[in-house]
Symmetry: D2
Amino acid sequence: MSRPGLILKLSCSDQPGIVAKIASYVASHRGNLVAFEQFSDQLGGKFFARLEIQTQEFNVDVQDFIDGFGTLGRSLQANWHFRRLPYRMKTAVLVTKTDHCLNEILWRAELDELPIEITSIIGNRNSCRHIAEHANIPFHQIDMDGENRSLGFEQIHQLIIQQNVELIVLARFMQILPNGFCSAFAGRIINIHHSFLPAFIGANPYAQAYQRGVKLIGATCHYVTSELDAGPIIEQEVDRVHHFHTPSDLVRIGRHCERIALAKGIRFHVHDRTIIDGHRAIVFPD
Amino acid sequence: MSRPGLILKLSCSDQPGIVAKIASYVASHRGNLVAFEQFSDQLGGKFFARLEIQTQEFNVDVQDFIDGFGTLGRSLQANWHFRRLPYRMKTAVLVTKTDHCLNEILWRAELDELPIEITSIIGNRNSCRHIAEHANIPFHQIDMDGENRSLGFEQIHQLIIQQNVELIVLARFMQILPNGFCSAFAGRIINIHHSFLPAFIGANPYAQAYQRGVKLIGATCHYVTSELDAGPIIEQEVDRVHHFHTPSDLVRIGRHCERIALAKGIRFHVHDRTIIDGHRAIVFPD
Amino acid sequence: MSRPGLILKLSCSDQPGIVAKIASYVASHRGNLVAFEQFSDQLGGKFFARLEIQTQEFNVDVQDFIDGFGTLGRSLQANWHFRRLPYRMKTAVLVTKTDHCLNEILWRAELDELPIEITSIIGNRNSCRHIAEHANIPFHQIDMDGENRSLGFEQIHQLIIQQNVELIVLARFMQILPNGFCSAFAGRIINIHHSFLPAFIGANPYAQAYQRGVKLIGATCHYVTSELDAGPIIEQEVDRVHHFHTPSDLVRIGRHCERIALAKGIRFHVHDRTIIDGHRAIVFPD
Amino acid sequence: MSRPGLILKLSCSDQPGIVAKIASYVASHRGNLVAFEQFSDQLGGKFFARLEIQTQEFNVDVQDFIDGFGTLGRSLQANWHFRRLPYRMKTAVLVTKTDHCLNEILWRAELDELPIEITSIIGNRNSCRHIAEHANIPFHQIDMDGENRSLGFEQIHQLIIQQNVELIVLARFMQILPNGFCSAFAGRIINIHHSFLPAFIGANPYAQAYQRGVKLIGATCHYVTSELDAGPIIEQEVDRVHHFHTPSDLVRIGRHCERIALAKGIRFHVHDRTIIDGHRAIVFPD
């Protein structure tokens, strides 16, 4: 979206007239609604919406429009969020050794498929340093092993604050985040992990999947909460596998699912297409 | 949707304030918008919307609500259509020999996946009569070969009028429709046909697909216009094939794509999720 | 496969020369190998193969060919199985209330996509009786509730023996099979069950999947062993879902995955394309 | 495949005993067949096979084994080809402006998903030079516009010969190859192009696809012959699209299909999993 505009995300209890009120507010200031996606969750009694508004014809300052919405938003007892366009989300990418997810993100960012600005790549190993350097992005190697864990995450925390990072992507980052870190950046940390049908508990799920002869493997992109791998799902991908695929083939195919699901998940997030609602995410796909 | 309600489909030139006006009209009569899907086609400058409105709390008669919308609709120079819920669309199914699409429709109708009432099954052959009889649906065998073609289609035309049929499904009906018939029921005839990458011209595309070693075959469900197989696309399905699939395997796999694509296409149509716009259909998927 | 022939399935420890020995045996009797699929599992050190052999030019009786293979088979310490073609596998279908899987099987059998002869449909409820009757297949309603369970399964057991049933399909059969029953028909019982990413424990997985906002749901077709839902997987299907799909939409979409996965799984089994190896099935797809 | 070995590809008229003869030859020299895929095309009367043979236990030199096969191969009137493992195929990548396919190839090569050695990247524009330089691969900018076309392709031809290039990948190379070039490297040039259902003739197929409201777009990876875009298909990919996807969204999604299909197609080729047969390719997938 090249023209100046706004994205509004909103959730509240469902009630008659919400769409009329919001759309009338936009129209009364000569905003042009170019997209209005909504979901009325009749089981949970909640309303979710995402609007894209062109602002060229506004009869008020954009900031006044945003401020003025407060009266309506509060009367609906809503949570809402405005984003000014064009926008490029400041993003930190955390990695360990493998680079396939990092590469996918860098490549899509360069092609402008992902409107992000990667402010730093942070690794608990040095493996991805050369990739960061080639992309002219600062690389921070931070030790998080054993007793360095707390200190390490404190350093990351500070870096994120200093750089005004809005999104933290765990691109095959092989460390469990401290609860405090998860809470501090709730709704702003995206992870990718492998997915199997059925689920395999314990070490080396790929070997287990091979032994069990699964026909599909995949990956799940989700928000991180303090419950390990139980955060709201943003996107999932699967691919078909056969008995002749060795565990290392499964790793290769799973890797492919991971980078696709993660790239799509980030895209939905940075385009403000996701609204977190308890254990799930409403995702208005594009 | 079991509760009483309305579906409104609307298209018009895009202009600021449409959503506000429509939603305000609904809210002013205490309608509850449970779904509002819209698409603002910035390339074509058109606006398309589909609304689901609960009417229990209406402060007017439903018919008055519908009639009263005319003032707004005309001011927007819109095309619009209201449907009262619950609804079951009267449907005629046209067949020749093969029955896989017919069976899929019958089965989904019985499960209430398709809210249709099949008023008659019409065949230019007798092959599907036993299926119709078992389902307790009148079967009409109408000869359309050679010089009987005009008369045959006239008979179908009359039957459709008599039975107040709203939707005509060509479920592997192997006759080319006369132009007059297409025009008379424009936007109300749905066809399914096989699809190949690349397209194969001429007889026996399955044999050609085999000779060419295609890796994907599929089916396209579309509205029928007088341009053969060029009507607005509603749904498409593909499946993966291999060199070892014989032409008859391709037929089997294509058959599967056909029944899936056709069933989905009908579902979108009878739920008023499609809006025809020139050569294409806007489809709000469910 | 309309021409007379044989299918040979074989598994043994991997060792050099197996293919040469088998193919030479076939060639020495003027058999024509029209398909030879093999899988050499280098991790497990096992060899699996499936051969289709045309027998018109045989210089021996087919039975002598089969008997004569014993010398080679024993020298390889193999498990093997011959099937004479054309063949139609005697099949019993067990159902409870829902009929979508049953209907899919009946329809594909009629179209000859599944070379089976359904000798009886057995239900612990009467819901599917009319379907069986319309298809002219004997329906047996057998009570399996509470204390009738043992007796019920004994009756099924006897029926299967009497009718020389080779394959037992659980087409949404909502009873847990006794261990003895599973053992008695090991490798001959095929089940279908829903699959979720992540897996949901406990009642109503569809409601849980909705609450969790999953983006994919599916179905797994597998052989039944005494470990509940842990038998060798034959086929899996998934479909994409969205936040707006209610639990009943998920049931509908899951139902679709179930019938596809079950139909494919049965097809692989009756064409002797599966070889069970511990907890997994080798599946040579078609 | 890390252990030393051979891949044999072979095609000939179908005839009884082929598998026995080949497998016996392998076994008689103590080769261990770790994979034997074959396809007996009963419609065309042809036989195709691919074997992977471990050679550690050979009782002859590998070269003697290869030479010795000639007697059998000639008696079968076969075409055959041996490849010694491990192997890394010398590859030239031709590009114009867009780099998504080039990047995908580089990345997969680095991860060892593609066992290739890229000897040079050749562009008729300079756009991809920096990518080549970063990957330490020689970049050759060769002008092919207008009257420079013949000379340009001659230069490429010479470079390919000098570098012993075995595979030429057209990674969104926007020039039509001269017929002589196609013939000189028949079966060794792989192209990727977009695919649509239906096919769109003429300029800007993405705009046409948008106007027509297609629901699927894709890409086809194929061998290049002098018939434009009609060479044997190796792999195809599709992705689902919606009415709200603009032509530039379609380009983005199509781009994704292109890099996946091209990477898979190259993988099949360099693992000798393809056998060209007239207008089609037999592909033994992995």
